[in-house]
């Protein structure tokens, strides 16, 4: 006789307690066709759009199978089945539940890996939370919002200096395959350690091995404690891939609505759009451009609108006065994979137009060893400037300009000997800045470290350093600062300001180090 984990007397008693034996009235329908995870149901006159539909369980005693009502037609209801459907057949009963699909939310999810329905898949036991939230919610309106004014530090120099991200912003990470999109996202999560920003990583249509890798890396860097991983791997049904971002978003909104800050990464929305296309075509919705259904824009816009910063009054209202004087935010970093750098395809253009800027990663830069492979010309942040840390803003202001001038002149670089003094200087500055923007994976930098590096290049301390020594110089400079100027670093990290005193301090660090630098 084999015992199931659910057969513990305490648990049974607890469940008996919550069990209510009342006669209930439910609307019942019949499956009339079933294929590819889509069930067409006859009956269910009163079903709601997006309502959960209950199908029979695979075996008696197993949890029942759920579906999602997607197409309400005159005589039938088109529904996608969430999970396995091999045990279902034509003629089976389908019941209305009267509920919109919900997922568990709350602090208990932090550190866990869950599927698109919020069920744990990491083998660490059940999730102890009584809270749940519907996966589809209307985004906060105009009145409830507040503009972006606090930064989310990704810890990547290139991003924090050139395309700053604010709390509540939606910044797209776009690029071809193998350009380091996930790496940027993971670094951003790692850097949130100790900042109070909760992270949600939604993996959509990825290999299970890749997801396991991400989880392992996050654990190694101690970032799992503040992170929820929502995984809908490539082996799961299209319906699960389609709902995963909404589930993750609801988990993030829980923190936002309690006056906390959260960061959510959708990796990636191209695969979600493809899954949605599959579901739509199987439901016989008419195909449009690239065979996507007509509402693929709405698919992403309603999701990304939910990333927002809400004001203190709204937080107070949502928490019934328990949290006062705090704003809440949900920052979104959606990821889109382009094909051969084509940003004018349907889904990339849609998401570019929805988000507040994009980080554009390029294969050529990646292969040239410039990592993160951010294209500084095409990457923008439309609202992040208002939220940028003062020191990074002041010192990093020249970086974009230097790189823009460098790009214009780069073609002349091979005639270096024939060029005039100004042009040559601009070229050299550009090369040095490009070199300095390189950063190793899993090594995010603090504001102070970034400030020191940017100060060095801005004030010309790198001008006489050989190009191939820039990395080593920077590492040495930072090590020197950490060893001898811990107080200055602490001050900068605490205030993020650049005043006369701090500037003098930075100057001292750079000169001090350079005096003893032998190259």
């Amino acid at each position: 006789m084999q015992l199931k984990p659910s057969e513990i007397s305490d648990l049974i008693r607890q469940r008996l307690h919550s069990y209510q034996a009342v006669a209930e009235a439910r609307t019942e329908g019949t499956i009339i066709s079933l294929a590819d995870g889509i069930a067409r149901i006859y009956g269910l006159d009163n079903v709601m759009q997006g309502e959960m539909i209950e199908f029979p369980a695979p075996r008696e005693g197993d949890p029942v199978t759920y579906g999602l009502a997607m197409n309400l037609e005159r005589d039938s209801v088109g529904s996608v089945i969430l999970g396995d459907f091999e045990h279902l057949s034509e003629g089976d009963k389908a019941l209305c539940t009267g509920r919109i699909l919900e997922v568990p939310v709350g602090e208990a999810l932090l550190g866990r890996v869950v599927n698109a329905l919020g069920h744990p898949i990491d083998g660490k036991g059940p999730i102890k939370t009584d809270l749940s939230a519907p996966i589809e919610k209307i985004a906060p309106g105009v009145i409830e919002r507040q503009s972006v004014s606090q930064p989310v530090q990704t810890g990547l120099k290139a991003i924090d200096a050139m395309v700053p991200i604010g709390r509540g912003q939606r910044e797209l990470i776009i690029g071809d395959r193998q350009t380091g999109k996930t790496a940027v996202a993971i670094d951003a999560i790692i850097n949130q350690k100790g900042t109070g920003i909760k992270c949600i990583y939604v993996a959509i249509g990825q290999k299970n091995s890749s997801i396991a890798n991400v989880v392992r890396k996050l654990e190694e860097h101690g970032a799992m404690d503040h992170t929820i991983v929502v995984a809908a791997s490539a082996s799961e049904s299209a319906a699960m891939l389609f709902i995963a971002p909404y589930s993750g978003c609801s988990m993030g909104e829980y923190f936002r609505d309690r006056g906390e800050d959260a960061l959510i990464i959708y990796d990636d929305l191209s695969k979600q759009a493809v899954a949605y296309r599959q579901v739509s075509l199987l439901l016989r919705r008419p195909p449009g451009r690239e065979a996507f259904p007509g509402d693929v824009f709405y698919l992403h816009s309603r999701l990304l609108e939910r990333a927002s910063r809400i004001n203190a009054e709204e937080v107070e209202r949502l928490t019934n006065g328990a949290v006062k004087g705090q704003t809440g935010s949900l920052t979104a970093l959606p990821v889109i994979e382009t094909q051969a750098g084509d940003v004018s395809a349907f889904v990339p253009t849609n998401v570019i137009s929805i988000t507040d800027g994009q980080i554009y990663l390029e294969t050529d830069l990646f292969n040239a060893g410039i990592r993160p492979a951010i294209n500084p010309g095409l990457s923008v942040s439309r609202v992040g400037g208002a939220a940028q840390t003062k020191i990074v803003k002041k010192l990093g202001g020249g970086i974009r300009l230097a790189l823009a001038q460098y790009r214009e002149l780069a073609a002349f670089a091979q005639f270096a000997s024939d060029l005039d003094e100004t042009t040559r200087k601009q070229l050299e500055r550009g090369q040095r800045v490009t070199e300095l923007m390189k950063q190793k994976q899993y090594s995010p930098m603090s504001v102070a470290e970034m400030g020191i590096s940017l100060f060095a290049v801005e004030r010309g301390y790198l001008d006489d350093i050989a190009l191939n020594k820039i990395g080593a110089f920077e590492a040495g400079l930072l090590a020197h600062a950490r060893a001898h100027y811990a107080e200055l670093i602490a001050t900068i990290n605490a205030t993020g300001d650049l005043n006369g005193e701090i500037e003098a301090g930075l100057k001292k660090v750079a000169e001090d180090f350079k005096a003893n630098y032998v190259g």
Binding site: S6, T30, D45, P56, A57, V64, D75, S89
Partner: protein
């Protein structure tokens, strides 16, 4: 696993025919007669051998012949009554438009329209043991109050329910059976 039932799924094409038939029956005040005839015709059309014979996929018989054959069979099934002319014309029209195979759908939709017009709901009471007349009356009274319509109650007995009863009105299922409660308890314990 739930028991499988054959579902006649009303198709969009059947809708205008059902409405036309119902309206004609209404004006000629022959609603119950048409009901019987359509039921008979539906049963004939649903028979697999006749389905092959009468469907648009059979090129051997012309539409007219199919209509005549159908009318004759209907007459036999209904005990040799004289068919109203409107009904034979209706069958001919269906045959000409290659829609004879839609008769089961048409019958279902016709019944729906009839129930709507007469403001009647058909309810099914499935119980574990035979219900008494007093119980029947109580159920009818309760359903009348709920649906604000007159109720026609069909009673069935299913011992698998153990105790209690299940009431089925269209899509709506009110499950007050011991089997249903036991199933719910099993779900509550396993989740």
């Amino acid at each position: 696993m739930a028991e499988t039932t054959t579902v006649v799924r009303p198709t969009a094409a059947a809708r205008p025919y059902a409405r036309a038939a119902f309206e004609d029956a209404q004006t000629s005040q022959a609603i119950p007669l048409w009901s019987d005839l359509l039921e008979a015709a539906a049963a004939i059309a649903a028979d697999s051998a006749l389905h092959r014979l009468l469907g648009p996929w059979n090129p051997v018989l012309r539409g007219q012949q199919k209509a005549e054959l159908m009318a004759e069979l209907c007459r036999d099934v209904c005990g040799g009554i004289a068919l109203p002319e409107a009904f034979t014309t209706f069958l001919r029209l269906l045959a000409d438009n290659h829609r004879l195979h839609l008769l089961p759908s048409i019958a279902v939709l016709y019944e729906r329209l009839r129930a709507e017009a007469e403001s009647v709901v058909r309810a099914e009471l499935i119980s574990a043991i035979t219900v008494t007349d007093a119980q029947r009356k109580r159920v009818i009274k309760a359903l009348k109050a709920r649906f604000k319509r007159s109720v026609v109650l069909d009673c069935k007995i299913d011992e698998a329910l153990v105790a209690g009863a299940v009431i089925r009105v269209g899509d709506l299922v009110i499950d007050g059976s011991a089997r249903g409660r036991l199933n719910k308890l099993a779900t509550a314990l396993s989740q």
